[in-house]
Symmetry: C2
Subunit: 717 residues, 2 copies
């Protein structure tokens, strides 16, 4: 699909800005999709020519109809297919012959129904590829562009939305109808509105890139059910955010549908698909929303107002209770109540009644009319310590709701600072809310929602957004070495690498391992131990032994040749007695790693995001607290640091409770090297370094035990 992205780029322009449109399968039956689409295009006053194509009708809605698209003499920029799925391929073939490069396939009955639907979808994809044609759908509601230059409602939605700067993309067509209704009632406008359905050709990735450069779009919203190519989505999101500064808000469903799959590693069992998705979105700078309302709450804050440069807000209210609720919420969400300058307090004191609260939150008191709001608003906006103004109103008996809304619009228009409002209630406050909405002042029914939305905007602008290209690449790695080992194991059908072999893979990637030796007899073990230095550890290596500790296959802290000899014999006796048929490769001997803080590093494969990295502190912190962090590989140094910082227990690496400060930079490097290994070697199915022992500052960290599970179905690219 990515190979077509260059083609899509050109063709997408004609989906949103066609000079001429053919509606293939149009009819005269009111209340059917084919009819409603034509009707919608005509009603929206499309800035171009429409050609109905119908096998039966000579004209529809007073417009000449064509039997086939090929019968149209004029050029056609965009084809909208509303034929039954079974005949779509024929219509699309003719579109190709006609030289049409852009299409919207509304028709359902493809991949989503399984069976022959899948074949049909492949068929239309093949036709599109043959003709270099790009299409949206199938199985979608259609596409809307409110830009007066085009003004096309190529959808069977009930309504045409207002013009605006929010782009909305949705994998669910049905949700679109609810969103359009919701948005219309709140005067929320859209730049582009796209139901992309099965995304058989043009995907959400292509659309993100298109919207990045769309001058009409300031904020991008998406409802997504399935992340098909997580890495491409992350890359696109980073490119859009870093390149255009446009925020991307995604509502992702399917949170609970897949439990963490049964897995052979810690990393496998801890990384549920939803945790991974959450980590990936955060990493790419995507704002994940928990419902449609939250999504639009945040979107209007982005779309209507400049971002707050600091988190110092002023609250103006005519009701004490809601003022307290707003203060609670603001502090909770990371905002601050600005401390007013003396001048501000003086103005408020002079002009507000004695019972008013002249400090932040300012309470202009229940009987306040518009003039008092004016005084408080002007004073707050004028105060250099105030970065954003929050206006709260409850409908009390003397409240001039409509006038106060106008006052908010008027006063705020003289300042560059953002303003937000919450007029609480419903029917009585409606006329005021309409004034706010028409003046693009973000309105929230609850002060709590206002605080949450603004805090999200503030945080987004505080974060550094890069295109994800500042990834360190270690050029001392021996990629061929690692791959050769992994491919050999795969060829031998080995389910996992024994530790001696895993250590070789790590060594090839510069991960910190202590020198070790695979002894095949007692003498070799002693010889290596003497050459190295005591104490040493020994572990039996065998593909047949999963739990070597339980079988007595591990000996620690051996301090002399005598102890090594004795331990070697005991170990062999243990195995011979307890698992006599185990095929023993040898005994791994290495110097024992000094005491330090144990951490876990892991890699897991995810069907959407490929290489997932995990970090956590060993033992109870992982098992009981699940205090772990995830990132999608590759990770930058900053992200590797953040992985560590994100866990609460990392305090122990930093010297909490009188512990030694550990060599965190060494761990950061290990995470980055592991990231590179995970990306380079798809043969690694899952991987646990458990533990990595982290020594004191400057003394490094070392792999003390590790497991690499092999994927037998992939090859290096």
């Amino acid at each position: 699909m990515t190979s077509k992205s260059g083609i899509h780029e050109k063709n997408l322009e004609k989906i949103f800005y066609p000079d001429s449109v053919a509606i293939i399968g149009a009819n005269k039956v009111r209340g059917t999709v084919p009819h409603d689409i034509l009707d919608n295009i005509l009603k929206a006053d499309f800035n171009g020519i429409v050609f109905p194509v119908s096998p039966k009708e000579k004209f529809i809605a007073g417009i000449k109809a064509y039997k086939y698209v090929l019968d149209i003499e004029d050029p056609v920029d965009l084809a909208i297919l509303v034929f039954p799925a079974s005949v779509c391929h024929m219509a699309l073939e003719q579109c190709g012959q006609k030289g049409i490069k852009s299409a919207i396939i509304i028709s359902a009955g493809f991949k989503e129904v399984g069976g022959e639907g899948v074949e049909r979808e492949n068929q239309i994809k093949a036709i599109a590829d043959k003709y270099g044609l790009s299409f949206i759908g199938p199985n979608c509601l259609g596409v809307i562009n409110t830009d007066p230059q085009s003004r096309i409602n190529a959808s069977f939605a009930r309504k045409m939305p207002e013009e605006g700067s929010i782009a909305f993309l949705s994998q669910s067509g049905a949700l679109c109808t609810a969103v359009l209704d919701y948005a219309q009632a709140k005067h929320i406008g859209f730049s582009k509105f796209i139901s992309f359905g099965n995304k058989a050709d043009i995907s959400e990735i292509d659309l993100l890139y298109y919207l990045k450069d769309d001058p009409k779009t300031k904020v991008i919203l998406m409802y997504l059910e399935e992340v098909s190519n997580g890495n491409a989505l992350m890359k696109a999101a980073r490119d859009v955010i870093a390149g255009s500064g446009k925020p991307i808000l995604i509502l992702k469903s399917g949170r609970t549908s897949e439990g963490a799959s049964a897995a052979a590693s810690h990393t496998g069992s801890l990384a549920g698909s939803d945790e991974i998705c959450a980590a990936a979105f955060r990493q790419a700078g995507i704002i994940r929303c928990s419902d449609i309302e939250e999504m639009f709450n945040i979107a209007i804050a982005f779309a209507y107002q400049p971002p707050p440069n600091t988190n110092n807000i002023a609250i103006i209210t005519n009701a004490g209770g809601p003022g307290v609720l707003a203060t609670d919420a603001a502090i909770h969400d990371g905002l601050k109540l600005a401390t007013f300058a003396d001048k501000t307090t003086a103005i408020l004191k002079k002009n507000l009644p004695r019972t008013a609260n002249i400090n932040n939150p300012v309470d202009v008191i229940g009987d306040a009319r518009a003039d008092r709001y004016n005084i408080a608003l002007s004073a707050a906006f004028d105060d250099p310590a105030v970065e954003a103004v929050f206006v709260i109103l409850t409908p009390q008996s003397m409240t001039e709701i409509d006038l106060i809304a106008r006052e908010v619009a008027k006063v705020s228009s003289h300042y560059d600072k953002p303003v937000y409002a919450s007029f609480m209630g419903e029917a009585d406050v409606q006329e005021g809310i309409e004034v706010l909405q028409r003046n693009k002042i973000p309105h929230y029914p609850l002060p709590e929602d206002m605080c949450k939305a603004v805090a999200t905007v503030y945080k987004f602008h505080q974060e550094k957004h890069d295109a994800g290209d500042n990834i360190a690449s270690f050029d001392d790695v021996r990629i061929d070495n690692a791959r050769a080992i992994l491919e050999h194991a795969a060829a031998q059908n080995e389910p996992f690498l024994t530790e001696d072999t895993a250590l070789k893979v790590f060594a090839a990637y510069g991960l910190p391992v202590m020198e070790s030796y695979l002894a095949t007899n007692q003498e070799e073990a002693v010889q290596f131990a003497e050459k190295s230095s005591y104490p040493v550890v020994m572990k039996v290596m065998s593909q047949d032994i999963i739990h070597k500790y339980d079988l007595g296959g591990v000996a620690l802290d051996l301090k002399s040749a005598t102890e090594v000899e004795a331990a070697y014999n005991t170990m062999m006796n243990n195995i011979r007695t307890r698992q006599p048929d185990a095929n023993i490769k040898g005994v791994l001997v290495r110097k024992m790693i000094p005491k330090g803080q144990e951490v876990i590093l892991g890699v897991k494969r995810d069907p959407s995001f490929n290489s997932v990295l995990m970090f956590g502190l060993g033992g109870i912190f992982v098992e009981v607290f699940r205090d772990v962090s995830f990132r999608i590989a590759p990770v930058s140094e900053r992200e590797a640091c953040a992985m560590i910082d994100e866990t609460k227990s990392s305090a122990l690496l930093k010297g909490a409770r009188g512990q030694a400060i550990r060599d965190i930079p060494a761990v950061v490097e290990a995470i980055q090297r592991l990231s590179q290994l995970a990306c380079d070697c798809p043969q690694i199915k899952e991987l646990d370094i458990n533990p990595l022992i982290v020594l004191e500052e400057g003394r490094g960290c070392f792999v003390a035990d590790a497991k690499i599970m092999i994927n037998h179905t992939v090859k290096s690219s």
Copy 2:
């Protein structure tokens, strides 16, 4: 205040059901409070007689006015005071003389303005006490009773709400206006609507007891800014819930206003006022809401539908995306998707189109009209595995919104099972929503809110609610002993008890302490160590030494008389060198406690809830993870168990990661004994047992170190 509760009980009846009302301070000026209240009473068609009292007017609104309340010849049940604060006391005095027992004081200008306002409030309280009169307010919006038997709108709210089974109490009058507006638009009715203002006389506690027995009220909602008497609130809540089954929902503001106060103990620094409030509410069975919308979302689920007996729900939707969102939310909130009986699937398969999803969540597909909803609804309700039905709708082009809403109402009326709906959108779905609202089918704009509300109802009905009277009382405690020690320390102005004395207090309450001895010389130390058994520990005891470890004032694991002697000398040398002017009480000698799991128990005083207990595992679990739990004393055995279970790290007591299983029953008993101590001895300001060492099953637990801070301003009751 509690002493008046018997009086309030009788007088409250007349506040809600008066046969005659005097409005004292009424006037003819439209748009003022005194006028609007009279107007509201008349407009609402009050079932009784109104007497305006006005110093100036002969009549108001066609009704004869009286100069003084004493001029009214007929009996008056309820006085509503709308005079300025400065003259309220005179009016109230006359009410008392007239024999009026119930009043609502609307007027502001009392405690809330400070200074002379506080005096005024005390003045009216005194008058009320003198005449055995009860009043609501001052500084409130008033009271509404929708019951046709009374139908009184004794408030200056803009509107009279519909009749309903929800009672709403609010400390903020201004918030009431927003709530009334919000509720009216959603056809939410109220049984009683009460703005209680400064609660100078009748408090939220009195009102809770009144509403417990009010046959018109099924659910109680409260907005609260300040918990004046937390223990009374908890008791009232428990009495209401256990006695009547009515749920209590509270929106409590001021969450972030007070940070955890700087404190000398772990318990002090960890227990912020909001955490304590949250724990207290949970303990009392109160449902804490995070905003007004959530509060009403839950309230209508309680008020309109029977509670679900199991968490097995069915979802019926005409839109796949929202179906997935609802499923996500339901699972997340602890609900389950029922597995349909074969019969159900067969009916759905036969009667729904081929492309429909006949499993749960049932997707009747975008073009569904009312008939398909009927089929799916009936099948779901008929299925014995289904306990509750969730209906979702998006406004697609063929959706019969109004008819489908009627279908939901009709079908569900034949079953005892609860039904809930989410018609997504806004304007287009409005007529359907009105149908649902009129038929008391709880409606939610978002499926996520629906799931959260229903899950809350389900959990409330699953929980055991008792009146809090099953508290174990240990009769082997020596309360006088403990108090004598504490009072002595208070008299000596000692800021804290040294460990030797603290252990005596614990011993008096049967808390597990090892025998110890306060040696004043080397010989005594050795003597006790020999008599006890080795190893022993020694700690220097001094009011002047806070950090005895740092000064070398602690010696552990002493295995012989020689070691004890040596350690004693070293310790004395250490102190003499490092803190020469410390006044040394002696050296505490006791047998060393064997290794075990260290936990912390603590007590803190809270201005609202008095005795707060804390439990946590020692070290990093408290300091880094803040993995602690709180309860208000006294606690039952069940609550003590829950305190332990609530912490994640308690897994370590239960044998996680191959650890020994610890003597949890001993900890449960220790918590209960500590609870009794905290309640009995107000002289304890703060207390830390850190650590309590918990041995293996059946071997008990022991206090290894402890601190008791003394409160010098209280006496035992």
